[in-house]
Each structure stands twice: as structure tokens, then as C-alpha cells.
Symmetry: C2
Subunit: 542 residues, 2 copies
């Protein structure tokens, strides 16, 4: 039964025709997704009571410190669910993670945290509280793409927190738009030093790399000799710097050495920001885009791990830098007034194995909505406010940081009501613990395709181009090996087509912004492939 | 290149022809496998020094308690590597394991513990310190098999510890032989109450089950209507009881109810044994064969888990019983003089999913030598002697319990020298901690086929019937997804064919006992399939 031409839309469209949807309306500060209101019906009163507890604790803290709490959010690249020691990796992967493990032991380690499938989508969701598809930035913004990035109309976390009186800073990988109009300082940050994408030494490959040079443990030969489209401009070619209202300037051009050491600089800059703002009258919001497992590059000081892989070097490095940052927070005497969260932006990227990360989930990787692609490690730390050693089962989505930070900063009601906000306020979960989470559902998109929906322990995988879907019980089968029901025609084992219908119905009322991420790229200088100079062999004439 | 008819022997035979092997000989108390002597060359002096420390600590303890330490070994069925909370499962699997997690936190949790591939093989290895193939019991002893079981010539742990002055008791699943000559009390135990295999309610299926009855969460219909070979005699049909020298008697016949509640009785009997022996002059050795995830059956009291699966019911039950046992040890005031070890006998059995266990390793299950089949959870606990919270990377094999218990009981030198002992003395690892393990290698057999060898982080998988093999780096790739080298002809990426050669060369000197496990089964009463009475449908005559 084929309804529309778009692969996912066939099932979605079909479902949509079947049921008339009613969703709550009327005066409200935010427009949530439809399923949120289902939960609110059941738990609304409890949420209200919990909110009073949360507000009282935050008020008490504000009284003690004379300002709102600081917020630090660290997002790293491509770390799979089982990579940290506390998640079953660490030394078993040749890369102990003592600082992340200590952070987890002193705080809250999420067991069911979901990112989006890839870098740009997770970053957009994190800073807007919305699924990427709603913003028009449906997928990874590739090098050289113009006119795609976080739209001016989106109200970012930095903008909200600025309204709440926060000083705001961003350091590291940004990757939600190439060009000045998409700079962090054009979207709410007072100051920033950033790379538009991953700083890419192979820009230089065409020119002067000889194929024996190493980025981390990885030899660049494959890229030097690779197809031309890998060797184009990646972004504007350097690390940028700006303050709000200023035109971004290139701080330095990328180089092989800078690529290997950039992570260290990002944390140096972040720590400097913390130290400068610790004693200020205003609270601060710091967003750090760390590298972790992004395929290449690691500081020479961290190469010598037991695994002797780029992944292990990067994990050891990112763990060390996280430790440095937490030490800076403690040394500044602000730990009890600072929420620090750490999370991965998506699952591992196996293309360059054993660089690129790993996950014990046998299905899924960066780009896929199987658990291995989107279930990632995440930790929240706030001494005295978040109880130690917690490991909640509550589902958390990357978009929840936006709404939760807004709530903690007291500007939740400033979240616009004319767009759908997917993030929910998880401050009660952070401050009151397990079972206080406010979602038991997650929608999983790959670009503009809705691939799966999770509700409670049941995951519903839509089969593209077919009016069909499979169910998995993630408690019985965390790795999605044994289907546990199906949707076919009118038969629907777990009834989750209802969520899809209601989700899509709301899209009709609040349409997505037009897709900008996957467009034809503008003409740009072509870097010809380098000539490979083989030694001339003796020829035989016959 | 085909050398012999036996699948594995083709490569082994070929390798064997290539190199002349020299192994150490001369006076020694035990005959180890060849690779052990390679390690001894390098670490022998350190081992000697460590042994002095271990001996001194044990002597001090003996002085304090006036006797040697008690030893309790609990072996459970089919628990996969990631099932316990401390291994990343627990509540994520709908079955929290607070007691096993507490045991791990207070003791040593092994990250790289290896069982044999299945039930009987692991049990033979555990009580003899030898790979099953050496004993002639190469695989699972199936119901009704006669003349197969632990040979009289094998010196079991119970026999060694009896020589050391221990009282010895065995309770629960034995499964190393059907018949009086294979009874635990015929192999060193002073007393025992046991089932020869898994007590099987489906014996009755032919007679009086109607296919709607439940064992645990599992409906018996499949077995009632299954093929006749599933419905034969399983063993002698009841739980047996004996003291040393006595003929075993049937304590009671199995029934559906007994099958569901048997695990509780096993621990009741074990706790009774502990209480009776706690204050005695003699130390005791207790071997408990628990059920855990073996496909069917769980006590009604534990059915109501969040997962609502038989696996979760069994895990909750076995965890509770483990807690009861540890409480009994503490209550008896003997915790500091009692080593308690817990381990799984092999990976999960997926045939009956979601009953039967689970593992995040995507390759391997009960019966297979991939990590999912043989890497299992294991914990050692000994307050005051084993330091809390340890998680060593050291490789441990199920056969090591035999040698380690003998060492702790002071009878290591009574291990016979006329057979190869695969187990190594791991008492220094237990008492001195990580890096004190005495093996960096494991041989992995499926029945009589050597399927894989691990050395350090490298696993070598032999390809049957081919002169060929693949290497995996388990630090880079714990789930064996990406081969990292190969053996083909003379090319050998990691040189582990040497281990295979030396291992097989030693077999020539110390031959295996003849295989007894997989023989033609004797004639036995045939239980006809039940007649399935379908409602007669109206027929059309045309």
C-alpha cells in the first residue's frame, strides 16, 4: 500500500489518514510534542508538586550564592555507549576513563540517553530543544555548504540564558552552519572561539602532505590519495574568534599540528572562561564542543595507550581534559553552584576502525537509528544538588538539555510557543532522582525520515517504503535482535502507530522549516588530486 | 591442504608437522600446558616471591581462625556477560542484581573470565582443572547417556580438599555423569543432594501435561507437542541424596512444582551445610550448582519482575539466593575465613528467547567459542583477604578454580603429575590483585574441536577444514567484528600457531582419555508423542 513517494512518508501518510487527531490547545507557554500531553494527563499533578520542590531548592541555592547556577555543557564526538569505564569499557578498551568515571560516581549516569544520529543534528537539537527536521537542518552540514545552519528564528539556549542574565561562552566544534550568520556569537553567545566543522588537516593534503604524515595514530595516505571530493574546502580553513556583534576573525589556520592539539586548546579556553566568570556577579553558561572519538587526531601526549589506537588516544585525552575542567570548577569554589553535563553526540563511526569509536550494540552506528547509533553515554554532575552515584533508567533526549537549562535558569516560560519544542524539563530528574523523568518516548530520525519511535521499553522501527513496522522490547533484547511484534495493515502489536500519527498531525499544524542542509553546494575552487609519484620501474620491451 | 579427516585436526595436524616442539620436562609436581612454561620463564622469579606473600597471609589467617579457610564455589547456568548490574545489565534487563553487585563491590569482579562452551564441559573443567577433552567428557552429557561422566582416574577438587582435611558438600545441579559411579559422593564429596542434569518437568509431559502448564514464565506447549527425542527420560527422574560410600537414593521425584522451586531448596541445603560446618574444627568446601538462567523454571515468588520474562525471574531469584548464602556466611561469623566465588558456566542460550539469558556480545552463545559463548561474569569475595572493588583485566579460566582452591587449601603439590592440568594457581591474583594473574592465554574448545586460542589481547580463530585462521584484537574489537590478521600457509600475523603446535604436541605425550560423552545411547523406554486432539472440522465432499 503505497501512499506517497517519500519512503517514510508512505507509512506515516497512511497512518495519518486513519485517525482524526486531537491535541491539547489553548494558552500555554510552550508547545510540546503530542505525546507529552498524554503523560501530562497522568502525571501533571505530580509534576506540579515536584516543580515546587525543585524551585525551592534552586531558590535556596540562589540565596546562598547570590546568583543563579552556572551551567556547563560538554558535547563530544562519536563516543559509543560502552566506551567509558563506568559503561563497561575503559581499561577493557585500552583507554581508562578515570575522570569521567569519577564524574559519574559523583553524579548521575544516564542508562538510556539518546542523541540524534549524527553531529549537526545532535548539536541543533541540543541548542534549540527541537528535532533537527523542525529547524530545516535535517542532517550533517558538509564542508562548503552555504545557506544552511541554525536559522535566525530559532531561539537558542544561549539566547534564552542571556535573557536570564547569564554570561555565555562557546569553545570548540560548533558545526551548525558555515558562515558569519551562523556563528555562535550570532546566536546568543557573548564570546566564542570555534571551528565551524572538524578542523581538517587534509585541506593541506593536496598541497603539501606526502601521505606518510600521521593524524593521531592514523596515516593520512588514504586521504591524500582519496577521491577529490574528500579533499575540498572543509570550512573557512581556520579557528574563528568573535565577541557578540563582531565579525568573526580567523584566529589561526589549521595545520596538522593544530589538528592534533586543538582539543587541548578548546579546554584551555573553556577553563579560562570559567576562571574569568567564576567570581562575577552574573552566572555563566559555557558550551564546549569537544572532539573525543572523531575519527582522526589526538594530542601527541596521549598516543601511548595500551590499545595503541587513535580511539584510545582520543578517549584518554578527552577524559584528561574533562578532569582539568572539573578541577577548574572545584578550584574556583563554584562546584556546588555549577551544573556540569557531559554527553556524546552520536554512536561510533566504524568507517575508520579501530579509529572512530566502538559500541557493544551490534546494530547501529553514527548515522543509524539502531541503539548503537543513538544510545550514548551521558553524565550530569552538580555536587550537593545531584545526588551521588545515580543511574536512572529514565529516558533522556539531547533536546532535553535546552529545556532543562532554561528551567534551571528560570526562563522556561520564555521558550517560544509558536513552534514545537521536543525537549522536556528534566530538572526534577536531575534534582530529585530516578523516575522523575518527563518522557517515556523518543522519536528517532535519520535526516528527514522518521525511522523509529520508542515508548517505554518498546521500540517501533518503521520499514521504509512499506506500510509496515517491527517492534522490539529493549528490556528483553537491548540489541534489537529479536522482533517482538509488528505493524502490518490494521494489526499493531503495541499500538505505537498512535504516537506516529499524533506526532505527524502536529507537524501539519506546526510545519517544519524548509530543508537547508542537503542542498547543491555552490561552486568552489577545485583542488586537483595530487600526482602520485611512484618510482619508475624498469620496463621490459617485448 | 587437507591433512587429516577431523575438521580441526587438519590445521592442527598441519601445524604440528611444521615444527619440532620442545617442552620442559623433569621433576615437577604438576604438568601444566606448554604455554604456562613460557610465562614461567619470564615471571617465575616474581611468582616465587608472590607465593611467599600469599603463603604468609594464609598462614596468618590460619593462625587467627585455627583452621584453613573455607571455600564456597557457586556455579550458575547460562548467565551472559552483560546480565548483572555491575556488568551493565541488572535493572536495564528488568532484573536488578543487588546482591551480586554488592558481592562484586566488596570483592573482585573479573572482566575477562572464560568458561567452557557448555554446561558439562565447564563443570568437568571446574572440578578437575582440565579441559573437558582431556577427560573424555568432551561435551554435554545428554539425558540417558550411560558410561560417560567424570572418570574415576580424575582427581577432583573435592578429593584434593578432602586430603587437605576439608569437609565437603555438593548441592544442586551436578551434570558430569548419570549413574551411581558418577555421583558427587563417588568423587570426593562427603555429602550431596543433587540433580544429575537439570530437573526436567517435561518428563511428565507425555503423561499428564496438557500444554497449558507453565514452567516459570514459559508455557510447556512446545515441549508437549515437540519431537519425541525431547520427551525421553532426562536422568533418573528425581533429586538424589547420598553420603560418601552410600548408594544414592531418590529424595523425591521431579514435578512441575519442584522444578520451579528447586533452586530455593539447593540454597536451603547449602546454607544448612554452612551452618552445620561453620564452627567445626575442620574447614569446609561447598560446591553449589545453581540454576540462574537455564531456560525454564523460576520460583513463583520471583515471577513479578519488570521484564516479565523467565530470564529476569531466574536472575532475580538466583541473586536473592546468593544474598541469602552470603548472609549465612556473615551470620556464622566466618566471612573473613571463607572464600566465596560465583561464576556462570557459559553464555546465554537463545533458543528460547526471551528465556535463556542474553549477552551484548553479538557473536557467540552457549555452545560457541565466540566471546558471547565463553566470556561470562565471575566474582570472588573474601572480606579482609580480597581487596574491595577490584576489576582485574587478568584472564581467568574456569579450570583455574581447581588449582587455586588446591593452592589455598595447601594441597597444590598433590595435583597429579601424570596428566596435564590446565588450571593455574590464581591465588596471588585473588590476594594481591590485578596483574598477578598467571595466564595470558586460553584455549577454547567446542567438544573435541579446538576452535580458538587467546593470547594477551589477540584471539586466533581456527577455520575448520581449512589450513587457515583469523585474528581479532579484543581490545580494539571486543565483539570480534573486524579481523585483524590471518594465518594462511606460512603467513601468520600474530604467531599464535606456535601455541597451537605446543598445545597439541603435549597431547601426544599426555593423550586425552577416550571420548565418552557423545556415544550411541542405550535403548530406553520410548514415550510416544501425545495425540493432539484438534476439533474436527466440517469436511466438504467434492
Amino acid at each position: 500500500m503505497h501512499i506517497e513517494n517519500h519512503p517514510t512518508m508512505s507509512i506515516i501518510g497512511a497512518l495519518f489518514l486513519m485517525t482524526a487527531i486531537v491535541w491539547p490547545s489553548g494558552a500555554m507557554a510552550q508547545q510540546h510534542d503530542a505525546e507529552y500531553y498524554e503523560l501530562e494527563k497522568w502525571f501533571g499533578e505530580q509534576w506540579e508538586a515536584d516543580d515546587k520542590v525543585v524551585r525551592a531548592r534552586l531558590a535556596e541555592l540562589q540565596k546562598r550564592f547570590g546568583k543563579k547556577p552556572n551551567i556547563i555543557s560538554i558535547l563530544v564526538d562519536d563516543v559509543g555507549y560502552t566506551e567509558l569505564g563506568s559503561y563497561g569499557g575503559g581499561k577493557l578498551r585500552g583507554a581508562p576513563t578515570p575522570n569521567l568515571d569519577k564524574m559519574a560516581a559523583q553524579g548521575m549516569r544516564f542508562l538510556q540517553y539518546y542523541s540524534e544520529v549524527a553531529c549537526t543534528p545532535s548539536r541543533i537539537a541540543m541548542i534549540t530543544g527541537r528535532h533537527p527536521i523542525r529547524t530545516g537542518v535535517i542532517g550533517v552540514i558538509f564542508p562548503g555548504t552555504v545557506n544552511s545552519g541554525v536559522p535566525a528564528e530559532e531561539v537558542t539556549t544561549a539566547e534564552l540564558l542571556s535573557q536570564a542574565g547569564y554570561s555565555t561562552g562557546m569553545f570548540g566544534k560548533w558545526h551548525v552552519g558555515f558562515g558569519d550568520e551562523y556563528a555562535p556569537t550570532a546566536h546568543g553567545f557573548d564570546e566564542a572561539v570555534w571551528s565551524e566543522g572538524n578542523p581538517a588537516p587534509w585541506i593541506q593534503a593536496d598541497m603539501d602532505m606526502d601521505g606518510s604524515q600521521m593524524v593521531g595514530h592514523v596515516n593520512m595516505r588514504a586521504l591524500v590519495t582519496g577521491p577529490p571530493n574528500l579533499r575540498g574546502y572543509y570550512d573557512n580553513g581556520g579557528v574563528l574568534k568573535a565577541k557578540k556583534g563582531q565579525k568573526p576573525e580567523i584566529l589561526y589556520k589549521y595545520s596538522l599540528e593544530k589538528y592534533n592539539t586543538y582539543e587541548e586548546e578548546v579546554f584551555d579556553q573553556s577553563i579560562d572562561f570559567i576562571e574569568r566568570n567564576a567570581k562575577a556577579d552574573k552566572p555563566f553558561y559555557l558550551y564546549v564542543g569537544g572532539k573525543a572519538n572523531h575519527f582522526f587526531g589526538a594530542h601527541p601526549d596521549f598516543m601511548d595507550t595500551p590499545a595503541q589506537t587513535n580511539t584510545a588516544a582520543q578517549m584518554t585525552e578527552t577524559d584528561y581534559n574533562l578532569g582539568r575542567l572539573l578541577k577548574a570548577v572545584k578550584d574556583a569554589g563554584i562546584a556546588e553552584n555549577t551544573l556540569v553535563v557531559w554527553s556524546s553526540d552520536n554512536g561510533p563511526m566504524y568507517h575508520f576502525h579501530p579509529a572512530g569509536g566502538y559500541s557493544m550494540f551490534d546494530k547501529g552506528e553514527k548515522g543509524l537509528t539502531f541503539e548503537g547509533g543513538v544510545r550514548v553515554p551521558a553524565i550530569a554532575w552538580w555536587p550537593g544538588m545531584i545526588e551521588e552515584g545515580q543511574e536512572p533508567l529514565d529516558i533522556f533526549h539531547v533536546s532535553d538539555w535546552h529545556t532543562t537549562f532554561a528551567s534551571i535558569a528560570g526562563v522556561y516560560d520564555k521558550i517560544p510557543d509558536d513552534v514545537v519544542t521536543d525537549g522536556v524539563d528534566q530538572s526534577a530528574l536531575l534534582l530529585m532522582g530516578e523516575d522523575k523523568g518527563r518522557r517515556d518516548y523518543v522519536f528517532m530520525y535519520k535526516n528527514d525520515e522518521l525511522k523509529a519511535v520508542r515508548k517505554d521499553w518498546i521500540k517501533f522501527r518503521l520499514v521504509p517504503e512499506e506500510f509496515h513496522g517491527w517492534y522490539y522490547n529493549l528490556m528483553h533484547d537491548p540489541a534489537e535482535r529479536y522482533p517482538d511484534g509488528l505493524y502490518y495493515g490494521g494489526y499493531d502489536s503495541y499500538g505505537l502507530t498512535r504516537l506516529v500519527q499524533e506526532h505527524m498531525a502536529l507537524v501539519k499544524k506546526f510545519p517544519h522549516r524548509p530543508n537547508t542542509a542537503y542542498q547543491r553546494q555552490p561552486e568552489r575552487p577545485y583542488n586537483p588530486a595530487p600526482t602520485l609519484k611512484y618510482e619508475t620501474r624498469k620496463q621490459v620491451d617485448w
